[in-house]
């Protein structure tokens, strides 16, 4: 049996439609959950910190350990921009004069540099990292 007759006979239309809907709904649910995950985590961390602060005055210090805001982070980053660039330059020495951003990112992760993705993006956007083509970069002299 061939053609539409075979598809209908084996429930092909229903299987295809249901299968597509299930996989779509599964990934939509998963993406929705993970898009809210950081908010839920922040909420619980905030609650825990408040609870600790109430329980013991010494825990008040923990509140200062809360994640800093984006503007604070940017200010701190710009204040120490030269230091950050030096740190990244030293880290990239083993890679040679030219390197892929993925390698630089890996090294930054290895040396526990804060916010490596954002930092490298900033360095790229502000031409501290100079594109040589084919995804290869060098430090702007």
């Amino acid at each position: 049996m061939y053609g539409f007759e075979a598809i209908s006979m084996h429930n092909g239309w229903a299987m295809a439609l249901a299968g597509a809907l299930i996989v779509f709904s599964g990934l939509v649910i998963l993406s929705t959950v993970i898009s809210q995950l950081y908010k839920v985590l922040d909420f619980f961390e905030d609650r825990i910190n408040r609870y600790k602060a109430k329980r013991s005055p010494s825990a008040n210090q923990d509140l200062s350990n809360q994640p800093e805001s984006k503007s604070d982070m940017e200010k701190r980053f710009l204040d120490d921009l030269d230091g950050v660039i030096d740190k990244y330059k030293v880290a990239s020495e083993p890679l040679g004069d030219t390197f892929a951003l993925a390698d630089l990112y890996r090294l930054a992760r290895e040396m526990d540099a804060p916010h490596p993705h954002l930092t490298i993006s900033y360095l790229k956007q502000h031409n501290f990292l100079f594109p040589m083509g084919d995804g290869i970069f060098s430090w702007h002299q």
Binding site: G3, A18, G19, V23, G26
Partner: protein, 375 residues
């Protein structure tokens, strides 16, 4: 003299027919593509050599062939037949995958879902061409562009098709640089290919990366429990990587374990393509449908990205849709290169990897769904 004649009549030279020769040529082409052209060498070289070994003609009954009980090749084939090797490959894959870019932009996951449409289109096409439902499902999963998933599902539903399905799936994965770019060019304008993706505005925390595999395995496997052998090990491998206290295990999973499984999987799949059982009209049909499945998967991802752009303020580069197939990292690399051609300073790799990893999850869910439908 009689002994000599008997010996000669048992040699491969005497027993060979045109099918063996043809498959030896196919195996050699795979080795050439893997070695000289560097098309997916980690896959094509074990498969290519397996094809050559599997197509050395031998006297049936010696206990030599992959389909003969008690032979060494048959023992090793156990891992293919039962779906063991694909599960182990998924463990290593999980231990290699960094979900940070996906966690930073979860909506890219939808492109991984869209690219699975090739699977269902091919399911219908295979049924229309006269394949039985279990065979059609095994062929359709080639559209996921995921070799281990294709082998896993085919081993469960239509074990007699493992050879052609695996060879088709891996061939198309290796031919990504040939198949995907024309489709991407056809479906996008130069302006669209130049769209820059915004950088994530926040850093993904370790806690998020740690919780994701648990949430992922629960949500996906509750929805399609038949995908447990793949997604269970996949997310387990990722948890080993992210938890930070099992670095030795994660390191072993992403190196020695996945390498061992890949060697045996590739070699055994190649060896299972014995000319006399492999070269049939069905195999040709499977190759044709596999190409259709893979092309539609690529196209549906790109088109879905364009549709998303109608409804969202933050535009998505539609090339990313092509990375929604789960050929990791080949399709992400191809998307990145095509983006660079349109705009040499547009780097799509991280975003494409997000789509790619969601494609892996999507195709494993599809395998689970199809298996459930056929039980």
């Amino acid at each position: 003299m009689e002994m000599l004649v008997q010996f000669l009549s048992n040699t491969g030279y005497y027993l060979a027919d045109y099918r063996h020769i043809l498959m030896l040529v196919v195996g050699s082409i795979f080795l050439y593509l893997g070695t000289a052209k560097r098309y997916e060498p980690l896959l094509l070289i074990p498969i290519g050599f397996g094809v050559i070994v599997g197509n050395v003609p031998f006297f049936k009954g010696f206990g030599l062939g992959v389909y003969e009980q008690g032979s060494v090749l048959n023992y090793l084939y156990f891992g293919v037949r039962t779906g063991l090797y694909p599960s182990i490959v998924f463990l290593g894959l999980g231990a290699m995958t960094d979900f940070s870019s996906l966690l930073a932009k979860p909506r890219l996951m939808l492109l991984g879902a869209a690219a699975q449409m090739g699977i269902y289109f091919t399911l219908i096409s295979a049924l229309a061409l006269g394949f039985l439902p279990k065979e059609a499902a095994s062929i359709a999963i080639i559209g996921g562009a995921d070799g281990p998933t294709s082998i896993f599902l085919t081993a469960k539903l239509a074990p007699h098709l493992i050879g052609p399905v695996a060879i088709a799936a891996y061939s198309y994965m290796a031919l990504i640089p040939v198949i995907q770019p024309p489709i991407m060019r056809l479906l996008t304008t130069k302006e669209e290919r130049r769209i820059r993706m915004t950088e994530p505005t926040r850093e993904v925390t370790r806690k998020e990366r740690l919780i994701f595999p648990i949430v992922g395995v629960v949500l996906c496997c509750f929805l399609a429990p038949a995908s447990i052998p793949l997604l269970g090990t996949f997310f387990f491998g990722n948890f080993l990587k992210e938890c930070g206290v099992t670095n030795r295990l994660a390191q072993t999973a992403r190196t020695a374990i996945i390498d061992t499984a890949t060697i045996f999987l590739g070699f055994e799949v190649g060896a299972s393509t014995q000319g006399d059982v492999f070269l049939t009209a069905k195999s040709i049909g499977i190759f044709f449908l596999g190409a259709v499945a893979f092309s539609i998967a690529t196209g549906s991802g790109v088109i879905f990205a364009k549709i998303m752009n109608f409804f969202t303020k933050e535009k998505i580069n539609p090339l990313l849709g092509a990375a929604g197939v789960s050929a990791v990292p080949g399709s992400a690399r191809e998307v990145h290169l095509m983006g660079l051609k349109a705009d040499p300073s547009n780097y799509l790799l991280m975003h494409a990897m997000a789509c790619n990893s969601s494609g892996v999850i999507g195709s494993a869910i599809c395998a689970g769904i199809l298996w459930s439908f056929m039980v």
